[in-house]
Symmetry: C2
Subunit: 619 residues, 2 copies
């Protein structure tokens, strides 16, 4: 039986559409190619890249395949993107093809959320195929590199020694010539034959807890692969302060932290390369963002004083190194650009978020909240920009919560409370624990049901006022107040899963840190809630939480419908912007110079605001 | 009994002299200090430096002590220099003190021979003690490096990441402040406390056979230590061509050669530092010279095509790296300056020789011959400069000679022939073999005595014409013609030492290479012998050979008395000049661009000239 399939072939022209009838089991990609509709399939339709992605705009969106999840990531999957090669519709659907690769403009992934929009691609990485004339007579007075420089119009001083080592062989090896890669006039590589179409870069976001490395094609802006891993430094301390304490006045420990992160980055590079079929030597530019401590540790810079008042960073300026200097296993002379920092606890990641959210632009004050172990809050417009750090700690990642866990298979990620407590787990697997978004929902629901009061106390004494099934879950065990989320055996739970009074306190500390950061910036900038145009939720966790729950527990202020948006991993998006566009990278430097750092602890009004923010909003 | 001692205290004023009467056994240094005559003694009179050196200008020059030989080197010892702290005169002498250290001018060691003269010292390495203001309040928006850059008036971009790693600790450690070292505006090091007086550099001459590393104080130009070692690459091939063949199209072997030379350099650095009490981290500038192949291998650049016609170098331009990039164990950001090259077989060593001999200057054409395994010949004046390579091979170092050896203890280094054959050995030890200078004397003497004819044939058939004792030494053993230099047991020889017909042929090849280089340059430049102002003998071997013997065998042309001079290790001297003076380094670049490379083998007249030069001059 034929299935009707409508393909919108040009996102800018609604009339550009094709109606097909395809056989069941045929992939959208195969059907499109059979009908001469161009959908790019860089990997050949093997689910190994993202180039054939389509967006479902009408009809039921099929559940994501593993390929969709791995290649596209959750943000795109949630927006209705699927890989055309992996998807065979079983009922009538309409899909829209992604912008073709030939357009040299970059639609930021997650741009469905309105971040950044499109930018012109000009990564600064240029490749040209040249034939270098080599003299044949002995009386010549020249050298290989002089002939090469003459052929590409560069100065010999722009050829780093690392490029010279294999130069003579490359020049004499292939009659097609050599491909010379340059960046800002500097020669990065000389490869035998024609490799001009191989031009890749990496955007790396080094977070305290999570490290995300994304591989992009530098002509199209196509995202070829992305990988997110736990920062392996975590074993030496979950949050920044404990990480700094570990390395403080202890060069051997600093070296350990540095080796851990360098090791992970090289592992990620090798994985994104393997997933996409790109060779590491074709990667010529890298943009790295991260908070100040992660930045310093990556460079082997002593972060001891970043952790001591007045929390002075050792450096703040943008820095460009060679991959060789950073021991990154890509083209040795590839340029690794570290975006600038603002202060000891406001790093390049905050600069990248500001860039990606275009917070620096427009008349209306907006707020961006990057929720993470070491969160940041930004507020501003074209007039001024403020930033502060909001050290939430690991509660949002499930850390220091009795049955907390990261957002992995089996984690309770959604909770509703009515006359009882209902949960959803990731992968709909048997529940193993609670992750951050589940925790938020749970506490918001318990507040709404009256099982928690506004100070955060579990209402064990007043449980009789609750509906019977909920009442049974609110308990006093010895001295400990707790809520039984799942009993052992209930809905597949292999053990009891509870929320303790201490867990609630941990969440209060975490949400209090973020909320007081927001409140303080509004206070310093003199921008009341009604003047805030929009609040943007960034960061891995920021994209999973329920906005209603976040408002209910007071994590973010009540701004009214439509004024809170998810913007994905904005730090990584900012890094991708700088990777693809040198003018965006220049803009990041300008932004870093504009951001005014607000030191919360040093502000006289902070203590009262923080205490207020620890409590939950009264209904 | 008092010994009369006259000290000339100012080399520029003959009237500045003091007459002393000193007790026997009193050192010149102690006597001078007792009489309030300033002689600098950097090491405190322990024979560990060269600062107290005096030159004997009247009276018997005492035999050199081991301290004289180690610290001053043979060239200075031969010129009559001795360490004042190590020398107690026993008879009336007159000595002249060396230029005081306070004068910021550098008397090139060996300048008694008229090379280079004095240059103003301006190494480019500057140190200043600064106190860096660090903010105490948390609201500051600055960083350690911004405060540092402001204090020294530099840009943050001039601070390399390697300097940043330990910066915060240094800034907070010593109330005296930090010492900031800069080179051409770039910050090389930030050290706690005041280290402004610690400023050292290295001049390194990487020869095919011998590697010389010299440590200099950068304010005074004082030479603190110098070490000469066998190039450990020699085990992979004695001359350049065999060294290149070893590495040709074989990256693993290239890597082996590179590791060998880097290992040796680090060993030499550690030795000169230990000998002088200088810490490696106080070394901020290094100048390296070497032939093209040694240069390429040091940088890990494939030298395969340097060994194949048209012998193209991969690069020729001057290059400055950080010590870190070259794995040199000194201050990681120290600047390592590699002087420019001219052609595949005319390297930075030839440029350094041209610089040190001031060959580029003056109206009269002069010739410089750097005799070594891979020799070079230079000819020129202020008008034009020509250079060619003269691959003599290892014969002058005793290589490929049956009983040849390097100039070490027990080597026959002087030979006279009259009615018999008389030898002198190094250290007057029992003879073990013949070194290059002995070989020259021996062949010159045998030619003069008629035991060799002008074609190089040992005159075994005509031995009856020789004096009886000499006749007995000229023998025919089976097919082999030979001269017995020492019989087993004769004058302590533990075995027979002979000169074979093949040895004579090897010497003819070696001297023919040099002589034909000289002849070719004279031919190309149109400069007959009578117009050659001077011929300068450079290189380790060049300073030991007998000029009379060299002329007799035709190694160098007959120019008449006083027109041939020893100039010491001119390549190393040129490197020292560039180390101490940035304007000399700039001059080296200009010179490299002026030198015209003459490719011998490609010249139509070369073959005839080479054949002529292989023979010995007819009496």
């Amino acid at each position: 039986m034929a299935v009707p399939l409508t393909i919108l072939t040009d996102p800018r022209r609604a009339e550009a559409r094709r109606e097909l009838a395809i056989a069941a089991g045929t992939s959208i990609l195969a059907a499109a190619h059979a009908a001469d509709i161009d959908i790019t399939a860089t990997c050949g339709g093997r689910g190994r890249c993202t180039s054939c992605r389509v967006k479902f705009v009408a009809g039921a969106i099929p559940p994501p395949t593993i390929g969709d999840e791995v290649q596209l990531g959750d943000a795109l999957v949630r927006e209705g993107y699927r890989l055309a090669c992996q998807c065979a519709p079983t009922e009538a659907v309409t899909v829209q093809v992604a912008p073709p690769l030939e357009e040299t403009a970059f639609q930021i992934l997650g741009a469905g959320t309105g971040v950044a929009g499109r930018v012109s691609i000009a990564s600064g990485v240029d490749k040209q195929l040249v034939k270098v004339a080599l003299p044949r007579e002995e009386h010549h007075q020249t050298s290989d590199v002089e002939q090469l420089a003459a052929a590409v119009g560069a100065a010999v001083s722009e050829v780093p020694p690392g490029v010279l080592t294999g130069l003579p062989q490359s020049l004499r090896d292939d009659p097609a010539g050599v491909t010379v890669t340059t960046f800002a006039g500097r020669i990065l590589a000389v490869e035998r034959g024609d490799t001009t179409s191989m031009r890749f870069g990496l955007a790396i976001d080094v977070g305290t807890t999570t490290v995300v490395t994304t591989l992009l094609e530098l002509t199209s802006g196509e995202q070829l692969a992305s990988i997110s891993s736990l920062n392996p430094q975590s074993v030496f301390g979950g949050d920044l302060m404990s990480r700094i304490a570990f390395a403080q006045f202890n060069p051997a420990n600093l070296r350990k932290l540095q080796m851990r992160i360098l090791g992970l980055l090289n592992q990620q590079v090798s994985e994104v390369c393997r997933a996409s079929g790109v060779l590491p030597r074709w990667i010529y530019k890298v943009v790295i963002v991260g908070n100040t401590c992660m930045h310093h540790v990556l460079l082997g810079i002593d972060p001891s004083w970043v952790g001591l008042a007045p929390y002075a960073p050792v450096m703040r300026h943008a820095l460009t190194l060679s991959a060789r200097e950073l021991f990154l296993k890509i083209t040795p002379e590839a340029r690794v650009c570290l975006l600038p920092l603002v202060a000891g606890f406001v790093g390049a990641d905050a600069v990248a978020v500001t860039l990606a959210t275009r917070l620096y632009d427009g008349d209306i004050e907006r707020i961006a909240v990057d929720i993470g172990t070491n969160g940041e809050v930004l507020l501003g417009s074209a007039r001024r920009l403020w930033a502060c750090s909001a050290p939430a700690g690991p509660a949002f990642e499930g850390g220091q919560i009795r049955h907390g866990m990261r957002a992995a298979l089996g984690a309770i990620d959604r909770v509703t409370v009515d006359d009882d407590l209902h949960v959803h787990t990731i992968g709909e697997a048997d529940p193993l624990g609670i992750c951050g978004s589940g925790l938020l929902d749970l506490v918001a629901g318990l507040l709404e049901a009256g099982a928690l009061d506004w100070t955060g106390l579990i209402q064990a004494e007043r449980r009789d006022a609750l509906p019977p099934r909920l009442r049974d879950r609110v308990q006093m065990r010895g001295e400990e107040r707790l809520v039984v989320v799942r009993r052992a055996g209930e809905a597949g739970a292999s053990r009891e899963i509870v929320l303790t009074q201490d867990d609630v306190r941990q969440l209060q500390l975490a949400k209090g840190a973020i909320a007081s950061g927001v409140a303080m910036l509004q206070h310093v900038a003199g921008v009341p809630a009604e003047r805030v145009g929009e609040l943007l939720l960034a960061g891995g966790f920021g994209n999973y939480l329920s906005i209603a729950s976040a408002v209910r527990i007071g994590l973010i202020p009540e701004l009214g419908p439509g004024r809170v948006r998810y913007v994905g991993n904005a730090a990584s998006l900012g890094a991708q912007l700088c990777l693809l566009s040198e003018s965006e990278r220049a803009r990041a430097e300008a932004i870093a110079g504009r951001i005014e750092h607000v030191s919360l602890a040093a502000h006289p009004d902070f203590e009262q605001i923080f205490v207020d923010c620890m409590n939950f909003p009264r209904p």
